[in-house]
Subunit: 431 residues, 2 copies
């Protein structure tokens, strides 16, 4: 029987149990954070030995320039060229997001403004898990750098994906995106070190980057002491297409999402029954030769679907309801639908805007809200690394003109001392 | 003995135990949220009867136009004039924060962009506690409205500060700032209704507004299902001043912060011993006649201080370390120091920029990061009510030119299906 479910959109409900951690996992994380906070490097090294099986001294935590040079020798030229060009594109897209501090000068001499400043120090976590993702290093680091963050530090487990040592692609990506400070430390102990600092690692103002459940729980635990990015859920794509789309393109794009992990969700929404069955068949065919076939199959099987709708407009309603991380629009005239799309983290229009174009190269960020949170949140961007301060220089004239109104509002709220702070100034001015 | 502590800055550490709720309180909140989520209005009304002692029907939850009209009759003309002018100023300051969606058209036909859209529906919580704060209604609602949020709903307990019914100032402030939908419901049950919806109250995308510990815990609990604003801690002010400042102004400003609550913190940082003792004496003197004397005294006693530094530059270091919610600079030449201030939520320059000017009237937002979080977060602003989507329209030319690099990066990460989504398109184009 076919692996791809074809059903009416009305019958579909995307239900994914997202793991928020057991009480035991939370307890483990709290203990690690408390220990690192109290003991510093000692606890950091102890947990690194215990959990990452790496016996290190404090002096060995920091990645050396020699290692970074060695990493360059290990990656091939094509990768280096590609990642350098990707970095240029990502930087140029994010440069366009920059804003300046501004001020508003009023006739009475009053000056109001908003001061934008970069965060001072940001920590980027790079997971060591199954696969190494140099692209995610670029997507986290470059926006912070464009914002003007002077200190960007990367932490990553002592060894990546079974290999002995950190993946050279990761080191090269970090160096290429401008990271000067890298430490071989991972897990909740790394998050604790970034949040509270140790003798070797100075504390940061914000922690970003993906990771397993322990990283997610640790980030949530230290939030408040530092800022954190959003906790990412499994990846998602919706392809909205009509009969003019190429079923093979759609199947390939659905599978590129599905190969990420078993909980990834790949959905086609279409009014065309012919396209629906053609895509279902294509998915079967292309699956057969995929290296990560087992993962992709499990994902399609559990969270994949083709949803039938009466029209593209009805399809847009489904999109807005699910608020997908990625949306591809493969229709005869995709621009016509753009204005109707309310909720989608990243929107890919037309047959050549395959999701990997955005994952790796075009310039927009590939760290995008999941699990329907595109309703209210945004892909990683420069604003995430800026903070704002309000500026008020009130003139004597303005205070004399408005003091009474300010006192009225303060007294309405029963805050007499607020009123008197104004009154004493008015009295000094002979009012 | 004097109430105001005078000490060297080095000896000072601002230690405030911020209440994050007991396991029991968390359990209560989780139960309320689960009940409202499962039973809707029934649970909402049951908890309103139990916790707010108000027996209501579902039909009575919504505040009527008649009540709003009645509120206008109950507030006096001076208040109405003042709040209308404040609303104009707040709107005009936040209008200057607005941004447009943008796109970047490239020579090969590629189009990249960032689409900014307002959230669709926002809920504003207005507490019923001791005091009623119409000004906070403006500060929460107007930025959302300027962002373009089409549906802004206010919830507030059935009675405010002991009075029978909602404070008329609150209703007028909401009406003046453009709220069309108001419900008489408070507590964790109100947060649950906003997050998950009931038969009477439709769910929102974001919840803002201050509240007691139960509100804070409920907001944290529903975060993820909806967005929330930051959890505000006790209010703070640092006044940085030299010998040219007026001690009476400074004392009045410190006390206007101290009267908020016992945990508020009011600190003077100065190199002038003469100013230090003059301010300490003035605080004593002015305290004596304050209606909220007990609260202000407790706050000054526990969290107030005068910190001696060797220079104004050294004072700035203290400011940047504490990252205060409010900073007043009362020196001979305050502008000279502005560039050195890294961490402060709102900056008030000069003798006439008393904090209440910003609390009520000037235009910048008075909801500002507390507890040192100004290091990485910002006053409430228009961006808090906008979400961004990335837009990618990649041209055939761009894909032909860059496809190989994209495949290289995908294969480096072991994601073959990503590479094939590009490859199949290149093959179709005869590559």
């Amino acid at each position: 029987m076919a692996i791809v479910r074809i059903m009416r959109a009305e019958q579909f409900g995307l239900k994914r149990e997202v793991e928020y951690g057991s009480p035991e996992q939370n307890e483990v994380v709290r203990t690690i954070i408390a220990d690192v906070r109290n003991e510093g490097d000692a606890a950091l090294l102890r947990y690194t030995a215990k959990l990452d099986r790496a016996e290190l001294t404090a002096a060995e935590l920091r990645v050396t320039q020699a290692e970074i040079d060695a990493a360059y020798d290990q990656v091939d030229a094509a990768f280096l060229t590609a990642i350098r060009e990707a970095a240029v594109n990502i930087r140029s897209f994010h440069e366009k997001q920059k804003r300046n501090s501004w001020m508003d000068l009023q006739p009475d001499g009053t000056l109001l403004g908003q001061i934008l400043r970069p965060l001072k120090r940001v920590g980027v976590y790079v997971p060591g898990g199954k696969a190494a993702y140099p692209s995610s290093v670029l997507m986290n680091v470059i926006p912070a750098q464009v914002a003007g963050v002077p200190e960007i530090v990367m932490v990553t487990p002592p060894s990546t994906g079974g290999r002995d040592g950190i993946d050279p692609g990761i080191l090269v990506a970090a160096a290429e995106s401008g990271v000067k400070e890298m430490y071989r430390v991972g897990g909740a102990q790394a998050i604790a070190a970034l949040a509270h600092g140790t003798e070797t690692i100075a504390p940061v103002d914000k922690i970003c980057g993906p990771g397993n459940i322990y990283i997610a729980l640790a980030k949530r635990e230290v939030f408040g002491a530092v800022d954190i990015d959003s906790i990412a859920g499994p990846s998602e794509i919706i392809v909205l297409a009509d009969e003019f789309a190429d079923p093979a393109y759609i199947a390939a794009d659905l599978l590129s999402q599905a190969e990420h992990d078993e909980m990834a969700s790949s959905i086609l929404v279409t009014p065309s029954e012919q396209l629906a069955s053609a895509v279902a068949a294509e998915v079967e065919r292309q699956l057969a030769t995929l290296p990560r076939q087992a993962i992709a199959r499990a994902s399609i099987d559990s969270y994949g679907a083709v949803l039938m709708v009466d029209s593209l407009e009805a399809g847009i309603d489904v999109v807005n309801k699910l608020a997908p991380e990625h949306l591809e629009v493969l229709t005869a005239d995709p621009m016509r639908l753009l204005g109707l799309i309310e909720n989608a983290g990243a929107i890919f229009l037309g047959p050549y805007s395959s999701e990997p174009v955005g994952d790796y190269f075009a310039g927009p960020n590939h760290i995008i809200p999941t699990n329907g949170t595109a309703r209210f949140s945004s892909p990683v961007n420069v604003d995430d690394f800026l903070k704002k301060s309000s500026l008020i220089y009130y003139s004597k004239e303005a205070l004399l003109a408005n003091g009474d109104k300010i006192m009225t509002l303060a007294r309405q709220e029963g805050l007499e001392a607020h009123a008197r702070a104004i009154q004493i100034r008015l009295e000094r001015e002979g009012r």
